[in-house]
């Protein structure tokens, strides 16, 4: 009886499949590592999955690395959906969703700042509450960051506080982009979201709440990228404020 129960617990529902979207631009050093970690944690937890790599013609040869990985891990696990040139993160997700065969979609950065060890926790959380989306959060519980100085922490916490006051979004981490969605929910949200780039992640979760979707949260540790450099950079504070005011006036 007891053994029957525990084996039942270990076997995930066979019908569920998780498509991980990995947008990459110049991530040749990170991609093999993130894929290795994904394979490790999905292998250990036994969930059905696929990894969709959306490379935007990275000049550093990320795609060639991805092809090698596909040979190592198989075409059913590593799916390549490259695009000819850098068309931006938002459209990379849309492109990836079109090719996803899973009923759940996980969105994460390929730069190792989002650790695949949290994915089984996301899945567990989703199943517990039947949530429409589960968001990683750096701001609650055991969540946190690594490699941030006091100034960056202050800006991050200050911006988060202002966002919470103005938007009351019902989620603690709006700018993080490590999330799990039901596929149809993500498709619906993408169709409703108008913003580009940095604001896109904020808008997705604000709209989700507005459309009445349920949101679960899992604390995550965010470790600043070790290899390569950030592409979104620019003036983050200015684009954050622009995004915040846009959402304030339109949602």
């Amino acid at each position: 009886m007891a053994s029957c129960k525990s084996s039942k617990k270990k076997t995930p529902e066979e019908t569920d499949k998780y498509s991980v979207l990995l947008p990459t631009y110049n991530e040749r050093e990170n991609l093999p590592l993130i894929v290795w970690l994904l394979v490790k944690y999905f292998g250990e937890s036994g969930y059905n999955y696929e990894i969709i790599v959306i490379d935007d013609g990275s000049p550093d040869g990320t795609l060639q690395i991805a092809e090698q990985l596909q040979k190592i891990y198989g075409e059913d696990k590593i799916v390549l959906r490259p695009r000819a040139k850098k068309l931006g993160l938002g459209t990379a997700y849309i492109h990836g969703i079109k090719h996803a065969t899973g009923n759940f979609i996980i969105i994460m950065d390929a730069d190792l700042s989002h650790h695949p060890k949290f994915i089984p926790e996301f899945i567990k959380k989703q199943k517990e509450g039947g949530y429409d989306l589960v968001s990683g959060t750096r701001y609650r519980g055991d969540g946190g960051v690594y490699g941030w100085d006091l100034r960056r922490k202050l800006i991050s916490r200050g911006a988060n506080f202002i966002t919470q006051v103005l938007l009351r979004p019902g989620a603690s981490d709006l700018t993080g982009s490590f999330r799990l969605y039901k596929k149809e929910v993500l498709e619906h949200l993408v169709a409703h979201c108008v913003s580009k780039g940095y604001v896109f992640q904020m808008e997705m979760i604000v709209r989700a709440r507005q459309l009445g979707y349920t949101i679960g949260e899992v604390p995550i540790s965010f470790v600043d990228r070790v290899y390569g450099e950030s592409k979104l950079g620019g003036n983050e504070i200015v684009s954050f404020l622009k995004g915040l005011l846009t959402l304030f006036a339109t949602t």
Partner: protein, 105 residues
């Protein structure tokens, strides 16, 4: 009571900006009614005196709360040293394993 109002249908179709404007104007009207006795209700002088500087008190209180909250959260923002160490050792492990599997960087 607040949350009942905030969950009502009218708020669903209103943008956050309009919600704020509505709440701020309601508070402003209530304040005006008491402070200047706009309806001629002969509000007692004690109430008027309390109400008059209220907006400033509220702003100062909110400012203090904000500073305290942000300060506390910055001070208690977790530094994930362990996560960084774990990642480093996993990177080494991954590199060795991938080399064995024939990956050429």
């Amino acid at each position: 009571m607040n949350s009942v109002i905030l969950k009502s249908p009218i708020f669903f179709i209103m943008t956050k900006l309009l919600e704020w404007l509505l709440v701020v104007s309601l508070v402003a009207v209530a304040w005006g009614l008491v402070t200047f006795d706009l309806l001629g209700l002969h509000v007692s002088a004690v109430y008027k005196e309390v109400a008059w500087p209220m907006p400033v008190y509220l702003l100062v209180a909110f400012g203090c709360y904000s500073l305290a909250a942000v300060g506390y959260r910055v001070a208690t923002f977790n530094d994930c040293e362990d996560a960084a160490r774990e990642l480093q050792s996993q990177i080494q492990e991954a590199k060795e394993d991938l080399k064995k599997k024939g990956l050429k960087m």
